[in-house]
Every structure is written in C-alpha cells, then in structure tokens.
Amino acid sequence: MASLLMICRKAPYGTSYAREAIDIALAASAFDVDVAMLFTDDGVLQLVKGQNTDNTGSKNVESVLSSLPLYDVAPILVNEAALSERHLTTGDLNLPVELCQPGELPTLCAKYDRVLTI
C-alpha cells in the first residue's frame, strides 16, 4: 500500500488551506493510501480544542479533524516545538497525538512514498 505524509502548516480559519489539506488526507485514505499527518508551524492551531463556529458560519475544522481516526489516518504527529512556541500543550488539543521534534523531519519523510505540505 502506498503511503502519504500530509504536512499541515496553516492556521484553521484565516484561509481555506487547512480544510483543503484535511480533504486531501481524507481523499487519499478513501483510496486506500496509508495516510499520516504532521501538524507543524501554525498548523498546530487546527488542533486547538473548543472551536465554536456558531457565529461565523464557517465549517468547523475541529469537527472535521475528529473524523481522522475513523478514516484510519495515523499517526497524527505534532511538532512539539511549534506547539510550545504557541503556548500550547497536548492538553489543549482535540485529538490524541504523537509528539515529534523538529530534527526528525528528514527521517520521517524518508518513511513515506509521498510527502505534501499545505
């Protein structure tokens, strides 16, 4: 089975990139691709717990993300440095994640057939 590492770097609501990156991950998973996701840089902000879109009318990124485990997207990795730079800890996140370190990127990418950043 082919594998994809989707690297998510964008904050959830300022642009539609976050949602579109998740859409690619879900589509790949539906085509039997082994999908992993890495949230880094502003992308870690997508995982913040308690997003409320009732008054903005946008699609709730938190609830879209909650479907990742159902689609067998795993592992869901988070760059710990990006998290702490934004004053967040794993307790602030809406999904169980695995922490990784910035220096791990090259070895991580080498494990996957395809790597995409959005």
Partner: protein, 93 residues
C-alpha cells in the same frame, strides 16, 4: 537519487515565516531553492544548506548582481533537474 529533501521556499523571508519554518526542520544534507518572493532571501545566504535561487524571479525583482555568490542561480530546467535528483521536495508558502 538522494533521501535528502529539496525545499522550495516560495514566500518572502520578511513577510512570511516560510523560510524560518523550513530552516527549523531541514536536515543538514537538504537543499533549499528560493523562488517567487523567496528569492529575496538570496541577498545573504540564509543557512549552511546548499542554496539555489531561480534566476528569472531574481531578475524580475531587480536583484541580479546583488545576491550572495554562495547562492547558485538556476533556471527552470535546473529546478526540474534538482527535483529529479531528490526523492521528496517540499513547498513552503
């Protein structure tokens, strides 16, 4: 072909965190390509990595002759060649 990564930095180093975020995770054997507004980072080679810049984007912005000589200038066929040589390329924007 190499497992080292080719990083395509496509945003200005001062307006965007793209270059900084890229350099924070790039491995020592990785290479950096500066393109679009990313070429503004070619004025001073941004890191110890092998670094390339897209000449047409530099020229468009009036940077010809002003870039760090340690940054190698390439055209689009040079960029294709670099992509050929690297198993993975990552875009930063």
């Amino acid at each position: 072909m190499t497992d080292a990564i080719l990083h395509l930095v496509q945003q200005s180093p001062t307006a965007s965190s793209a270059l900084r975020d890229c350099l924070a995770v790039a491995g020592p054997a990785d290479s950096i390509v500066l393109m679009h507004d990313g070429v503004y980072a070619a004025m001073e080679k941004p890191s110890a990595h092998t670094c390339y810049a897209l000449q047409s984007d530099l020229e468009e912005r009036g940077l010809q002759g002003r870039t760090d000589p340690a940054v190698t200038l390439i055209d689009y066929s040079g960029l294709v060649e670099l992509c050929d040589q690297h198993r993975h390329n990552l875009s930063w924007f």
